[in-house]
């Protein structure tokens, strides 16, 4: 068997409960994003663009859509003879099986998978962040520093630092201390949940961690602190580009709106670092004579007769005559009939809003909440929707 330099392990089992209605039927990495993508597309595309061709995707929560979406990985050019993409759900063993109890446990249960490739490094990723990153540069950094493990970090505003796992480093970028959600942060370098480990070391430490009854088997809470306690060389790899954890409805909505910014730091239009996704096979979208489209992104197969502003429109959306869409996200196949008004809302896929429906939260002190309308439902004509609709 040929040896792989690096195998990526993508943690995609999270429920993303704070996304509420959006993750009712799918795991967080499979949530649709940015007009044609799913959140996991970013990590998978980064892998391909970074030259990493072996990716294990660890799934657990409601994996059906995620599994069928990933398929054999051809959308990301990860259908390979040697390597490629592997979906790795929890499985039954001789002594019974177990769910993945934590991020580290998920990797530990798949030691055999990684051993097949005998890699020098294992790259641990999470499937729920929006960013573009060249992992090969991080691995190079890891090699240069002769590190045992490297953690990618990003500067966050000081005021928010207490929400993250914070790294304290010395002048040589070596990590001296790791504090999970500290009350009084001493640095604003937050962990991005991206780790490079020397596989032989990680393998050993995972097996040790497995035996510790008090461990929660989590990288941030258990494995990293353990490595620091045992005086291993951990380095912080500074990342400066756009990175967003879309863990809440607000941050999900914001990350979508960030794409509308002309100076969008994510740079979806950069053909040198394409974000790949499963393509929908739809014709070009049609903007009728009565339509108006301003500051928005629109995907293929849409038919637009009404007005769209500051919005993200997924494939196959229909916006009828007289309809007005503002500051919103319309998922695949949403149907807005005549004179529908949608303001600051997320409309689930294939949901139908019949004529003259209004979807907008009441403004309080000039502020407006984001409304979420679930997928595959029909809202009768002349409805006034002012709260989330679950089903």
């Amino acid at each position: 068997m040929r040896k792989k330099q690096c195998v990526a392990m993508l943690l995609a089992g999270g429920q993303g409960s704070r996304l509420g209605i959006l993750t009712k039927k799918v795991a967080k990495p499979a949530v649709s994003f940015g007009g044609k993508y799913r959140i996991i597309d970013f990590a998978l595309s980064n892998c391909n663009n970074s030259g990493i061709d072996t990716v294990g995707v660890l799934t657990q929560y409601k994996p059906l859509i995620l599994n069928s979406y990933i398929g054999i990985g051809s959308a990301w050019d990860l259908d390979r003879q040697h390597g490629g993409v592997y979906v790795l759900p929890p499985f039954v063993k001789e002594q019974g099986g177990q769910w993945y109890k934590g991020t580290a446990d998920a990797i530990c249960q798949n030691i055999n998978f990684i051993d097949q490739f005998n890699p020098a490094y294992v790259l641990v990723l999470s499937g729920d962040h929006i960013y573009k990153m060249d992992y090969s540069e991080m691995i190079e950094f890891h090699e240069q520093k002769n590190a045992d493990a490297t953690i990618a970090v990003i500067e966050v505003p000081w005021s928010e630092a207490n929400r993250f796992g914070i790294m304290n480093t010395d002048e040589n970028q070596q990590i001296t201390e790791f504090a999970e959600k500290p009350q009084e942060p001493q640095s604003n370098l937050a962990s991005m949940g991206i780790y490079v480990f020397n596989w032989s070391l990680l393998r050993e430490k995972l097996l040790e961690d497995q035996k510790e009854a008090s461990s929660t088997h989590d990288f941030g809470k258990d494995v990293i602190p353990k490595l620091l306690r045992e005086k291993y060389q951990l380095f912080a790899y500074p990342f400066t580009g756009y990175w967003k954890d879309v863990g809440t409805v607000e941050s999900f909505w914001e990350a979508n709106m960030d794409l509308l910014d002309e100076q969008s730091p994510l740079g979806l239009y950069d053909s040198g670092w394409r974000i790949y996704s499963v393509n929908p096979t739809r014709p070009p979208h049609y903007l009728a004579a009565s339509s108006k489209a301003k500051n928005c992104i629109i995907s293929e197969g849409c038919m637009i007769l009404g007005e769209v502003e500051n919005s993200v429109i997924f494939p196959d959306v229909y916006i009828g005559a007289g309809a007005q869409v503002k500051d919103s996200i319309l998922m695949t196949g949403a149907q807005l009939k005549e004179n529908v008004i949608v303001e600051k809302a997320i409309i689930g896929h294939r949901t139908v809003l019949e004529n003259n429906t209004v979807v907008a939260a009441k403004k309080k002190d000039g502020k407006q909440d984001i409304l979420v309308v679930a997928s595959e439902i029909v809202i009768p004509p002349h409805s006034k929707v002012e709260a989330n609709i679950k089903a």
Partner: protein, 371 residues
């Protein structure tokens, strides 16, 4: 599936002038993100056909690049799938290549070795969305030797160049195929699509070759109209024959009618093409786009009216595009105005240029030009 497909790319390349100078007819970009061949190929696949052979003519690099393994049409298969059949060149130099029957003859092995019993032969110049299974069922129930698909339509003369009109009796039996004579009444226009048993095709080709004949329609079909039981099958639906630059332009503009858009892209199946992984198209605050089709990856800051933009087109502020087609990766500079223009791929129109063609004679800008 008991039907296999053969796409016989025998369209004269001068049909589309500048657009076919450096690419085969079947690879001409159409409808914002497709090539002409995508329609025939997708119709076949959507009809359950899993084995398709394509007779290519010279200069087929761009077609190969487009089709590759056939994966996008689900035709990268272990059994059957997509076969690109290169032209039959003579072993003796300077011998003139006269017609398409030679191509059939050179590939008879491929045809007779394929598993299906029936064969569907089609060109790539009839843009439509249809299910061949209905035509095959008709062929079988009539006990026909050959079934020719046709559409009943009123077409302007320029659409009927090189197309054949069926002469049929009330029973639907075809007695002859003639050139269009300009009569102003609905015509039974042949779609250039034929269904027959493979056995019949092999016999026709062999007898044609032995008599020194060379043209499939003229010598295999028309010459045998009185000997074989040939039926016409009427295809009800929108058909766009692409036979000239004018018809190409007019039928592209017809896509701006929502009913045509819906029928052509969704009626009996989706139309597949090579994917480019473009992001969704971006409209800025200055964008003014009406009655237009826009494919993925465009960035629009100007005015676009009654036009078709292919994938990855950039329209700068102050630019105005009217009744025009801008193909893949075109860049339309600030203050440019275009009217009745077809920009081939990778064209860059720099700041302030005004270009104008006529509705009946669009101005074509050659691939890759900077103006």
């Amino acid at each position: 599936m008991e039907l296999m497909g053969i796409i016989n790319l025998n369209e004269p390349e001068e049909y589309l002038g500048e657009l076919t100078r450096e690419r085969p007819f079947a690879a001409v970009p159409f409808a914002g993100r497709y090539r002409l061949i995508d329609f025939t190929l997708s119709n076949m696949v959507n009809s359950g056909i899993t084995s398709v052979g394509i007779f290519v003519q010279h200069n087929y690099r761009s077609l190969m690049d487009h089709l590759r393994s056939g994966k996008e049409w689900d035709l990268a298969r272990k059994r059957g799938g997509l076969f690109i059949l290169p032209p039959a060149y003579s072993r003796f130099p300077l011998q003139v290549h006269r017609g398409d029957v030679n191509n059939f003859h050179a590939n008879l092995d491929y045809i007779s070795k394929s598993a299906p019993k029936y064969v569907l032969i089609s060109g790539a110049n009839m843009i439509t969305n249809l299910d061949y299974r209905e035509a095959l069922a008709f062929h079988q129930s009539q006990g026909a030797d050959i079934t020719i698909l046709y559409a009943e339509m009123m077409q302007p003369k320029e659409d009927c160049l090189q197309t054949h009109i069926l002469v049929m009796d009330d029973e639907g039996v075809v007695s002859n195929m003639v050139e269009y004579d300009g009569e102003a009444e609905p015509q039974k226009m042949s779609l250039g699509m034929f269904i027959m048993e493979k056995r019949v095709l092999v016999e026709l080709i062999n007898s044609c070759i032995s008599q020194g004949d060379y043209d499939f329609i003229k010598h295999c079909i028309i010459k045998n109209c009185d000997k074989l039981k040939i039926y016409g099958y009427c295809h009800q639906g929108y058909v766009a024959p692409i036979v000239s630059l004018q018809s190409y332009f007019r039928h592209t503009m017809n896509l701006l009618k929502p009913e045509v858009w819906k029928e052509l892209f969704f009626k009996s199946g989706l139309i597949y093409t090579k994917v480019k992984d473009e992001p969704p198209s971006k409209y800025t605050d200055n964008a003014q786009v009406v009655n237009s089709l826009v494919a993925g990856g465009c960035h629009i800051e100007g005015k676009v009216e009654n036009s078709i933009l292919f994938r990855g087109v950039k329209v700068h502020p102050g630019a105005s595009i009217k009744n025009s087609i801008v193909m893949q990766k075109g860049e339309i500079g600030p203050q440019v105005s275009l009217e009745n223009v077809i920009c081939d791929k990778d064209v860059h129109i720099t700041i302030g240029k005004h270009l104008k063609g006529e509705g009946s004679y669009p101005l074509v800008i050659k691939k890759g030009w900077v103006i």
